[in-house]
C-alpha cells in the first residue's frame, strides 16, 4: 500500500503574513516579519505585547454572513484555507461534470481531515454578562440563561466546526477526523489523510489545520511558563527567549495519483510519508536529547522508504524556546550526522500557529522547494554555539534535493515528522 502515490493538487493558507501561500513565501523571502503589537485587546501594559494577528475581516475570510454567528475566529481561518485548497484543486468543477451517481460516489469518497485548536478560554467569556447578572449565584444563572446567552453557544464552541462546515459547504461525505492534539494537530491531519488514502478509505481528501491562539488567557499562561519572547521570535539564535503566537490556517488537497491524473489535475508535489513519537514527560516537559523528534524523523524516512541523504531541506519546528530548539538540533544531529541538509524555520515571520503550525509550514515548504530556495531566517543574528553545526542562516540557501522534511512538536511531548517531494514548478 506504500506504493500508492499520494499527490498534492492544491494548497491554501492564511496568516499574518498573507492570505496566499505564494504571498506568504514572498514575505518570508523578503525577510519581513508580520509579528506586530497585539490589537485584539489593549496589551500595551502586558508583559507580552506582540503576535502575528490576521487583520482580515470575517467577511473577507468567509463570505456567508449567516455562518459568522455559528463559528469562532479560528474556524474562519480554517474554512478560508480549506476553501482555497479545494478551489485550487478544482474538484468541485470536476464533480459538476459527473452524472448523479458519479457525483454521489465522488462525494462519498472525498475525505476531510482537520487539526483544530483555539479559543478555548475566550468562548467561555460569553457567560461573563450572565455571571454578572446572576451575581455569581447559580440558581439565577440557570434562570436567566436563555435571556442572556446566544442559543447557538455550544455549536459555536464545537472544536469540529471546520470539519462539519467544510462538509456542508462542499458536500463532502467521506472519511474524516478532527484532531485536537495541540501543535501537531495540523500535521497529523495531513498524515491521517494520507494514510486514509493509502488504505483505500477514499480517493482524495482535504487536510487543514487552523488555530487562533492570540487570546489573552493563552498568552498569559504561556508567559507564566516562560514560553513567550519579549519582542521577536529568533529560532536557534544564541539570545532567543521564546516563541510568539500567530493566527492562521494551512491546507493541502491530496489525492491518489490515479484519481488526480484521471481528472487531469496538475500536481504540485507528493506526500512521501510521516512519522510520529511521544516523549511522555508531561504536558510541557521535553527531553534534552531530542529522542522524540529523532524517532519521528526515523519513522518518516522508513515510511517514505527514502534515506536521510535524500532529504534536500529541513523545516525545523524552530519555535524559539531554548529547550525545544536545542533538543531539535540534537535530533537533527542524531539522524543526519555531520552534514545535514540546509535547515530553516518559518515561525519567526508570522508566529507559532499552534494547531496550524506544521501544516502551514508544509504548505510553505512545498512552495519554497518549487522555487528551489531554502528561505533564510531573518531574525537570526548569532547562531547558538550549541547549534553551530546546524546549516541554518539569515541568508537563503539552496535545497539539496526536491524533498523536504517538516518537523512539528507539541505539548504532551508529541513529535511529528513529514516528508514531501515537490513537483516541478
Amino acid at each position: 500500500m506504500r506504493n500508492e502515490k499520494i499527490v498534492i493538487t492544491g494548497t491554501g493558507a492564511v496568516c499574518a503574513a498573507g492570505a496566499e501561500p505564494e504571498r506568504i513565501l514572498d514575505a518570508v523571502l523578503a525577510g519581513r516579519s508580520a509579528i506586530a503589537p497585539i490589537k485584539q485587546w489593549d496589551a500595551s501594559e502586558w508583559p507580552i505585547r506582540n503576535a502575528g494577528e490576521v487583520r482580515l475581516t470575517a467577511r473577507e475570510l468567509v463570505e456567508d454572513r449567516k455562518l459568522h454567528k455559528l463559528i469562532r475566529r479560528t474556524d474562519l481561518f480554517g474554512l478560508y484555507a480549506a476553501g482555497r485548497a479545494i478551489a485550487a484543486a478544482g474538484i468541485i468543477g470536476h464533480r459538476d461534470t459527473l452524472d448523479e451517481e458519479g457525483a454521489r460516489r465522488f462525494s462519498d469518497r472525498t475525505g476531510v481531515y482537520v487539526g483544530a485548536g483555539g479559543g478555548t478560554y475566550e468562548s467561555h467569556y460569553d457567560y461573563f454578562p450572565l455571571l454578572t447578572e446572576a451575581n455569581g449565584e447559580l440558581p439565577a444563572f440557570g434562570r436567566e440563561l436563555a435571556n442572556t446567552v446566544n442559543p447557538m453557544w455550544l455549536l459555536r464552541t464545537l472544536p469540529n466546526n471546520v470539519l462539519g462546515h467544510i462538509g456542508i459547504r462542499y458536500g463532502l461525505k467521506g472519511a474524516n477526523a478532527c484532531i485536537t492534539n495541540h501543535s501537531v494537530s495540523g500535521t497529523l491531519a495531513l498524515i491521517e489523510a494520507t494514510e486514509g488514502l493509502r488504505q483505500g478509505e477514499g480517493e482524495r481528501a482535504v487536510a487543514v489545520g487552523h488555530d487562533a491562539p492570540v487570546e489573552p488567557q493563552l498568552v498569559l499562561f504561556y508567559h507564566r511558563f516562560g514560553l513567550l519572547a519579549a519582542d521577536e521570535l529568533r529560532p536557534f539564535d544564541a539570545r532567543r527567549d521564546g516563541s510568539l503566537f500567530g493566527d492562521g490556517a494551512g491546507a493541502l488537497f491530496v489525492e491518489k495519483q490515479a484519481a488526480a491524473s484521471g481528472r487531469g489535475a496538475s500536481v504540485l508535489g507528493e506526500v512521501l510519508g510521516g512519522g510520529y513519537a511521544t516523549e511522555a514527560q508531561g504536558l510541557v516537559a521535553i527531553r534534552d536529547d531530542g529522542d522524540g523528534p529523532a524517532r519521528a524523523i526515523a519513522e518518516a524516512l522508513a515510511d517514505a522508504q527514502i534515506d536521510a541523504r535524500d532529504v534536500g531541506m529541513i523545516v525545523a519546528h524552530g519555535n524559539g524556546t531554548r529547550a525545544s530548539d536545542a533538543s531539535e538540533a540534537a535530533a537533527i544531529r542524531a539522524v543526519f550526522g555531520a552534514q545535514p541538509p540546509p535547515v530553516t524555520a518559518f515561525k519567526w515571520a508570522f508566529g507559532h500557529l499552534i494547531a496550524a503550525a506544521g501544516i502551514m509550514e508544509t504548505v510553505l515548504a512545498l512552495a519554497a522547494l518549487r522555487r528551489n530556495v531554502v528561505p533564510g531566517v531573518a531574525t537570526l543574528r548569532e547562531l547558538d554555539p550549541a547549534c553551530a553545526d546546524m546549516p541554518i542562516s539569515a541568508a537563503h540557501q539552496t535545497p539539496r534535493s526536491d524533498v523536504a522534511l517538516i518537523l512539528c512538536r507539541g505539548f504532551a511531548g508529541t513529535n511529528a515528522a513529514l516528508l514531501i517531494r515537490a513537483g516541478r514548478a
Binding site: 457567560y127 447559580l138 436563555a146 461525505k173 485536537t180 491521517e192 513519537a277 511521544t278 511522555a280
Partner: protein, 437 residues
C-alpha cells in the same frame, strides 16, 4: 481487502460510568436496565430548566490517584480517564515497559469542555465584574495565572496524563468529533495497529459536561430531556414519548493488541476489533438527515472493512440518544443497510441506562459490545414502553437477550455530522469459524 492486514484484538476493558465505576458493576446495571439518572448534585442546578443528569457516583474525589500533585493536574473527566485506563491495562494483564514503550499508542476522544467553571468564575469575579474581560485586571487574577489551571484546561491534558502515567511513547493523539469522538478514537487506534505504527494501543474516551456551562449549552439547544420529575425514565431511546437525551459523564477504555502477539502471550481476547467506518453527513450541524444518509455510509464501510455481511451481525449498539431526530434517522439508516436482515439484528441503546457520555460514549459502547460478545447476552434498551411507530427495528425490550453474538456494531454520530461505526467480531469466529445463529 488486503489479505496480509494485521488483525487487532481487544484484550482489556475499563469503565467508569453513571451506572458503575468498573466493568462488572456497569455491566450488571446494563443487563437489568437500571438508570444512572438522578437530580444533579455536582452543582446547584435548581434554577436550570434541566436539573437531572447521569452523574458518576461514589467516585473518590481524588480519583484514587497516588499523589496530590497528580490530582491537581486533572479535572473531573481526566480522573475518570485515568481510572478507566488503569482498569483496562490491569484487565489486559499487559502494560508498556521501557522495552515496549515506543510500540504503544494512545488514541482518545477528549471532551470539549476542559476549562473548569470554578476557574471561569474566579476570573469573572476579579477581572470581568462588568460582564466584559478587563485584560489589565486579568494580569493579577489568581486563576488566570495559575499553572495548574493551564495544565488541566489544555485539550491535550488527557493524553499528557495518560502517556506519562503509563509510559506510552508511540503515536498518541486526541480527537474530537463531538458525540462521535470515542468511536473515532477506537477506530484511529485500530488503524495505527493495522498499519504497524504501533503494536499495542490504549484507546478510549472521557468526558464530563455536567457543569453549569456544559448543561447550559445543551439547555440552550433544547437537546436535553427536561423530565426533571423522572430522571430514571428520562432517557428512553426509540420510545414514542422520548424528548431529548440525559447528559452523562465518565470514561471507557480498551486495550488493543496485534492479534497474533496477543494469542502468543495467551491473552484473554474479548473480541476482534474488526472494522471501522467513518463518514460525514454534511446535512446540518445539529440535525440528523431523515433518510439516514451519512450513517448509512459509515455502517457499510465498517462492515466492508471488517469483511462482514449484514447477515453476520447479531447485535447493534445504537447511538440511540433519545432525541426525536436521531432515533428516527438512525432507524432509517439501519433499515437501509440491513434491508431484509433488519429483523435479525438485535438493537439496543445503552444510553437508556447510562445517559449520553458525549465524547466518551463511543468508546464506552465499544466496551459494551465486547462484553455482549463475551457473555452471549445483549443489554436491554431500558425505558421503552411504546415504540415509535416510525421505528421498525428489533429492539431488545423488557429484558436482556441471551444469544451468541458473532458480530456486533457500535454506532456513534456527532454534532457536526461525523459518523463512526465500529465492528467487533467474536474471537471464535476468527480462529474457529462460528456457525450462524
Amino acid at each position: 481487502m488486503n489479505r496480509t492486514r494485521r488483525r487487532v484484538a481487544i484484550t482489556g476493558l475499563g469503565l467508569v460510568t453513571p451506572v458503575g465505576n468498573d466493568v462488572a458493576t456497569t455491566w450488571d446495571a446494563l443487563l437489568t436496565g437500571s438508570s444512572g439518572g438522578a437530580p444533579i448534585t455536582v452543582f446547584d442546578a435548581s434554577g436550570f430548566p434541566v436539573r437531572i443528569a447521569a452523574e458518576v457516583k461514589g467516585f473518590p474525589a481524588d480519583g484514587g490517584l497516588p499523589d496530590r500533585k497528580l490530582v491537581k493536574l486533572t479535572n473531573r473527566s481526566h480522573r475518570f480517564a485515568l481510572a478507566a485506563a488503569e482498569q483496562a491495562l490491569a484487565d489486559a494483564g499487559i502494560a508498556p515497559t521501557p522495552a515496549t514503550a515506543t510500540r504503544w499508542g494512545c488514541a482518545v476522544g477528549a471532551g470539549m469542555m476542559t476549562y473548569d467553571f470554578a476557574d471561569l468564575a474566579t476570573t469573572h469575579r476579579h477581572a470581568a465584574q462588568t460582564g466584559e474581560l478587563d485584560a489589565l485586571r486579568m494580569l493579577s487574577d489568581d486563576a488566570a495565572n495559575d499553572p495548574l489551571v493551564f495544565c488541566r484546561s489544555q485539550a491535550t491534558a488527557g493524553i499528557s496524563l495518560l502517556t506519562q502515567r503509563f509510559g506510552i511513547e508511540g503515536y498518541a493523539t486526541s480527537v474530537h468529533t463531538a458525540c462521535a469522538s470515542g468511536g473515532q478514537a477506537v477506530g484511529t487506534a485500530l488503524k495505527l495497529i493495522r498499519r504497524g505504527a504501533v503494536d499495542y494501543a490504549l484507546a478510549g474516551g472521557f468526558d464530563s459536561m455536567i457543569s453549569p456551562v456544559g448543561v447550559a449549552g445543551f439547555c440552550l439547544l433544547s437537546a436535553l430531556s427536561s423530565d426533571n420529575h423522572a430522571p430514571q425514565q428520562a432517557s428512553r431511546p426509540f420510545d414514542v414519548t422520548r424528548n431529548g437525551f440525559l447528559l452523562g459523564e465518565g470514561a471507557g477504555f480498551v486495550v488493543l493488541e496485534e492479534w497474533e502477539s496477543a494469542r502468543r502471550r495467551g491473552a484473554h481476547i474479548y473480541a476482534e476489533l474488526a472494522g471501522d467506518g467513518n463518514s460525514l453527513s454534511s446535512y446540518r450541524i445539529t440535525d440528523s438527515p431523515p433518510d439516514g444518509d451519512g450513517p448509512i455510509q459509515a455502517m457499510r464501510q465498517a462492515l466492508a472493512d471488517a469483511g462482514a455481511a449484514p447477515g453476520d451481525v447479531d447485535y447493534l449498539n445504537a447511538h440511540g440518544t433519545s432525541t426525536w431526530m436521531n432515533d428516527r434517522s438512525e432507524s432509517a439508516a439501519i433499515r437501509a443497510v440491513f434491508g431484509d436482515d433488519t429483523e435479525r439484528v438485535s438493537v439496543s441503546s445503552t444510553k437508556s441506562s447510562m445517559g449520553h457520555l458525549i465524547a466518551a460514549a463511543g468508546a464506552v459502547e465499544v466496551a459494551v459490545c465486547a462484553l455482549a460478545i463475551q457473555h452471549d447476552v445483549m443489554p436491554v434498551n431500558a425505558n421503552l414502553r411504546e415504540l415509535d411507530p416510525e421505528i421498525t427495528l428489533n429492539i431488545v425490550r423488557g429484558e436482556p437477550r441471551r444469544a451468541r453474538v458473532r458480530v456486533a456494531l457500535s454506532n456513534s454520530f456527532g454534532f457536526g455530522g461525523s459518523n463512526s461505526c465500529v465492528v467487533l467480531r467474536h474471537p471464535d469466529a476468527v480462529d474457529g469459524g462460528l456457525a450462524p445463529g
